[in-house]
């Protein structure tokens, strides 16, 4: 156990040192604990966003239903979109990035541990801030895409919460992207070249670059929207020469890279899971890495495909039709490489593997409908209909969520030292697969049969076929609810179970499986020296020229243990109040903007400054500025 040294200067607030107990979670800078909190919060928001979806589906199960008022419906579908994108999929990815980037690259933590905690608490406050709007006059009701000038035409504070809430959420991810990029580029274990990194790390790099370059764009847009909504400026208003279409450009310049931010982590996960349960390496590693980078790069050049109905010039539409078509090529490359990873392998269908294969199959469907959107003349029929809703749920639910859940089943033993039940996992998969397809497949058809999206009422005049499809979708959504409950039961039984998970339950390939389950606070007793891609696997098996592999006796490795003490005196950063303290400033500032409180704004700004100073003055670990090594376990 650590203790403050006798020579430490007295401070008003003593440095929290506890590594256990509930308070230690509030002050932790341990990437693993932060990752778990991200995951738990994201799971909670998944249930909330799912409830919003179920209410939407209940309203649309019948034509002309009066279950929900238009106002209630508009708030629910808006918050469903915001929640799933910003409060579920992104933080789930952050959970895995947090827990596994350091472990997979052989590091002990991220480059900036307190900044890491800052990202987490900023995300939490963004979510709480957004949801507080339900109690403060109404939640955002202008769609998750918040098109101008509707966003300023809606009375009340609903869209002010949208503008400010998303601004806070964006800060969380922007800051994290800098953290992870610095970590990956600077803290890889000796011998881990770029081409020896796990594919999950490659996808993580690509995602962080996407965040780094797209978030500032939406930040600018949201500042402009905040000013239009709160201070009557005219960025997006026609009155003084502003242009509502400007909002769309800014939003989608962020929004399209955003969808790759949403899918690439799941692609990274699937690129880890498929090889492990096929017992052979990822097929076409370089191609998959390059395709990921290509998708990201091209992803900045397709945004207008969300605006094909706005009335831009045919030249612009043609250019973006082409770029949108061609972005299908790197995506296809990945799909084929995943299939051929399995080809010739020895497949075991654990729950993680089922979800990973499900990802490949469902994402293919979403990708195909996506390419059909690029046929601009017909896009004018497809856009703003349920055909689009079908597309993005296939890629975001069938893709991102399936991938994320695969990651949960795969990495659960490493994170918690317990196994999830394979039997319940199988039930979870099949009910989820059934419910998901029942919910979203009919939407392709109801959209093409004329059902627009974002409509609070299903018009009877669309006909009985469309009504039938909507009913089937609702049934599918309810099956997803049941499936999710099976998942929650699985999590609960795992938590209660005494059965300890081994360090390497799956005979896996990457460095995180070298650690204990769960890992010790400092991850590795000895930082591994990397001599190959899939380093951990190469410590278990030797590959012959012909590609055959034989097990090798345990023990041999090049790991350099300078102190020879197997991790007895490893210097880890200490917990800190400052990240949490500082992030409290954001809701204060947020409410001050919405309620136009100058005093609140001043308090919030001062709070933030105090937090910043306290943080900067504080050393990463107590005793850092002294020669004696501080004890840590």
């Amino acid at each position: 156990m650590s203790s403050a040294t006798a020579t430490a200067p007295k401070r008003m607030l003593a440095r929290p040192m506890a590594e256990t107990g509930w308070k230690s979670w509030l002050t932790t800078v341990d990437h693993k604990k932060i990752g778990i909190m991200y995951g738990a919060l994201a799971l909670f928001f998944f249930l909330v966003g799912g409830l919003e979806a179920v209410l939407v589906r209940l309203q649309l199960a019948q034509a002309e239903s009066t279950l929900l008022s238009e106002e209630a419906y508009n708030q629910l579908f808006t918050m469903h979109g915001i929640t799933m994108v910003f409060m579920v999929v992104m933080p789930m990815a952050a959970a895995f990035f947090n827990f596994f980037i350091p472990l997979q690259i052989g590091a002990r933590d991220v480059a900036f541990p307190r900044l890491n905690a800052f990202s987490l608490w900023t995300f939490l406050f963004a979510g709480l801030f957004l949801y507080s709007s339900f109690f403060l006059g109404g939640a955002p009701n202008g769609g998750w895409f918040g098109y101008a000038p509707l966003s300023t035409a809606i009375p009340g504070n609903n869209m002010a919460f949208y503008a400010v809430g998303l601004q806070i959420a964006g800060l969380s991810s922007l800051v994290a992207s800098v953290n992870f990029l610095t970590t990956i580029f600077n803290m890889r274990a000796p011998g881990m070249t770029m081409m020896r990194m796990p594919m999950f790390i490659w996808m993580a790099i690509v995602v962080q670059f996407l965040l780094l370059f797209s978030l500032p764009i939406i930040a600018v847009a949201l500042f402009e929207l905040t000013f239009d909504v709160n201070f009557s400026t005219n960025f997006f208003q026609t009155a003084s020469g502003g242009d509502p279409v400007l909002w769309q450009h800014l939003f989608w310049l962020f929004g399209h890279p955003e969808v790759y931010i949403l899918i690439l982590p799941a692609m990274g996960i699937v690129s880890e899971v498929l090889p492990v349960f096929s017992r052979k390496p990822l097929f076409g590693y370089a191609a998959v890495a390059f395709a990921g980078a290509a998708i990201a790069f091209m992803g900045f050049g397709v945004w207008v495909h969300h605006m094909f109905a706005v009335g831009l010039s045919p030249v612009a539409e043609s250019a973006f039709a082409l770029s949108t078509m061609f972005i299908a090529v790197p995506t296809g490359i990945k799909i084929f490489n995943w299939i051929f990873t399995m080809w010739g392998g020895q497949l075991t269908f654990t729950a993680a593997m089922k979800f990973a294969i499900g990802f490949v199959a469902m994402f293919t469907i979403g990708g195909l409908s996506g390419v059909s959107h690029a046929v601009v003349p017909h896009n004018a029929q497809q856009t703003d209909t349920y055909y689009i809703v079908a597309h993005f749920h296939y890629v975001l639910f069938g893709g991102a969520m399936f991938g994320i859940v695969s990651g949960m089943y795969y990495w659960w033993p490493k994170m918690f030292g317990k196994m999830l039940s394979e039997k319940l996992g199988s039930w979870h998969f099949w009910t989820w697969f059934l419910g998901f397809n029942l919910a979203f497949a009919p939407m392709h058809l109801s959209g093409l049969l004329g059902q627009p999206r974002r409509t609070a009422v299903l018009p009877e005049e669309l006909g009985p076929t469309v009504e039938m499809y909507n009913l089937i979708s609702t049934v599918g959504a309810l099956i997803i609810v049941v499936s999710t409950m099976i998942f929650l039961v699985n999590i609960f039984q795992s938590w209660r179970s005494d059965e300890k998970a081994p360090a390497d339950p799956w005979d896996a390939r990457t460095l995180e499986w070298l650690t204990t389950s769960p890992p010790k606070a400092h991850n590795f007793d000895v930082i591994p020296t990397v001599t190959a891609r899939d380093e951990f696997w190469h410590r278990k098996y030797a590959e012959t020229e012909a590609g055959a592999a034989v097990p090798i006796p345990a023990g041999a490795s090049d790991d350099h243990d300078p102190d020879g003490d197997h991790g007895e005196h490893i210097h880890m950063p200490h917990p800190s109040y400052w990240p949490l303290f500082m992030t409290v400033a954001f809701p204060i500032l947020g409410y001050s903007v919405i309620y136009r409180s100058l005093i609140g704004g001043v308090i919030g700004a001062l709070w933030m400054l105090v937090g910043m100073f306290g943080w900067v003055i504080e050393p990463l670990a107590e005793g850092d500025d002294e020669s004696a090594a501080a004890a840590a376990h």
């Binding site: 238009e70 106002e71 508009n74 000038p149 809606i154 009375p155 026609t238 009155a239 242009d243 509502p244 017992r279 052979k280 390496p281 370089a286 109905a309 706005v310 009335g311 045919p314 539409e317 043609s318 039709a321 078509m325 061609f326 299908a328 490359i333 299939i339 051929f340 399995m342 392998g345 020895q346 497949l347 075991t348 490949v360 293919t364 195909l368 046929v375 601009v376 003349p377 017909h378 004018a380 029929q381 497809q382 703003d384 392709h444 093409l448 049969l449 004329g450 627009p452 409509t455 609070a456 009422v457 018009p459 005049e461 076929t465 590959e543 012909a546 590609g547 055959a548 592999a549 034989v550």
Partner: protein
């Protein structure tokens, strides 16, 4: 032994599964032509809808083929390469295949390049000003939450139903206004799937859309860009008339409204002049309001309130009769926000006011009787 039998069964299953997939794809196409989906985008009734439809059928076919190929590969792989109990040694650790990579990069790229040509061609063709001398221009103005139609060459202003002549190209010029101003307007989207794809209706901008109906009929559509509270209650209609009917319609629309002789209709007209003129126009009276729809020939239409309510009663088959829906009209006049979600008072007010404090039920009935004369 057992493995082989199971494999054989699964191969048969796979075949059947592929057949059912193909069948489903065909059904999806067929369903598009069903008349029980009157707003279908898969049942083109004019050239501007037909051309994209023909192109997308090719694309859907291609997508179906790729779907079968990829899903088939997946199914085959998970069946053929399951780990068997005798699999102790690891499989061959294949790392990749450059030839395959080149193949599945180049072939999709080539297919897309081929697809791009008719796509780009059609983008330009659909947008071009129709070269027929019969082309008619109609202005479409999006309001919250109804569509207004102006025929500048004919001096006609209507709402909710875009009446057009059969077989002639119509060039729509569209923008969004509230009470004549762009400053309070929001983005809508005009969409009649049977006749054309949709195009957004944007404040501060004039967007054009070509459409043409090849057959007489009533075509359904809806606003397709989220525009707030009653977005779902903003419907569009296109009514295509044969030449003789078209001429009659134009002539009728160009007449001012008749003044009622007496009775309930005259009482209603007097009430109208006191209560409704701030927002509505009736040619031939002093009503010249531009907030709400032009009502001069209200009863020449079949639906009102953003085309969500019937102006005439329907028979059992669902067809319109000649009986005006007087009760509903009276309810609407008396307190419209009770029937359609609107926000006529308060900050950023939009929509029709509730008049129940000003108009009694008898008053409303009289106004409805007057409106029923506006044919």
């Amino acid at each position: 032994m057992l493995g082989t039998i199971r494999e054989r069964i699964r191969r048969r299953d796979r075949g059947t599964r592929l057949q059912s997939i193909a069948l489903l794809a065909v059904m999806a196409m067929v369903l598009g032509a069903c008349s029980n989906a009157p707003q279908s985008a898969m049942d083109p009734q004019g050239p501007y809808a037909q051309d994209p439809h023909d192109l997308i059928k090719v694309v859907f076919g291609l997508a179906a083929f790729i779907f079968v190929l990829v899903q088939g590969l997946i199914v085959y792989t998970v069946v053929k390469f399951r780990r068997k109990p005798e699999d102790d040694a690891l499989p061959v650790q294949t790392h990749g295949n450059t030839k395959l990579e080149v193949f599945w990069t180049a072939v999709p790229a080539l297919v897309l390049a081929v697809l791009a040509v008719p796509t780009v061609q059609m983008i330009f063709d659909l947008r071009a000003e129709p070269d027929s001398p019969d082309t008619m221009t109609v202005e479409v103005i999006g309001h919250r939450w109804w569509f207004e139609y102006r025929y500048p060459d004919l001096g006609i202003v209507t709402a909710n139903e875009l009446v057009i002549p059969v077989g002639r190209p119509v060039r729509l010029e569209m923008t969004s206004l509230e009470a004549g101003q762009a400053s309070n307007a929001v983005i809508h989207s005009f969409w009649i799937p049977a006749l054309a794809g949709k195009r957004d209706v944007v404040p501060g901008r004039i967007n054009t859309l070509n459409l043409q109906a090849d057959h007489a009929g009533r075509y359904l559509g809806q606003c397709a860009e989220f525009c707030g509270l009653s977005h779902a209650n903003m419907r569009a209609r296109a009514v295509a008339l044969d030449p003789a009917d078209w001429d009659l319609w134009v002539a009728g629309q160009q007449q001012p409204a008749a003044t009622p002789a007496g009775g309930a209709e005259a009482a209603g007209a007097a009430l109208f002049a006191n209560t409704c003129v701030a927002c509505h126009t009736i040619d031939g009276t002093n009503a010249a309001g531009i907030v709400g729809p032009d009502l001069t020939h209200l009863m020449s239409r079949r639906e009102f309130a953003g085309a969500i309510f019937d102006l005439y009663l329907r028979d059992e088959a669902g067809n319109f009769t000649n009986q005006p829906n007087l009760a509903l009209l009276a309810d609407w006049v008396r307190c419209a926000p009770d029937l359609k979600a609107m926000r006529p008072t308060g900050e950023n007010a939009v929509g029709m006011l509730c008049f129940e404090d000003v108009l009694s039920e008898a008053d409303a009935a009289n106004i409805a009787a007057y409106l029923a004369t506006l044919r």
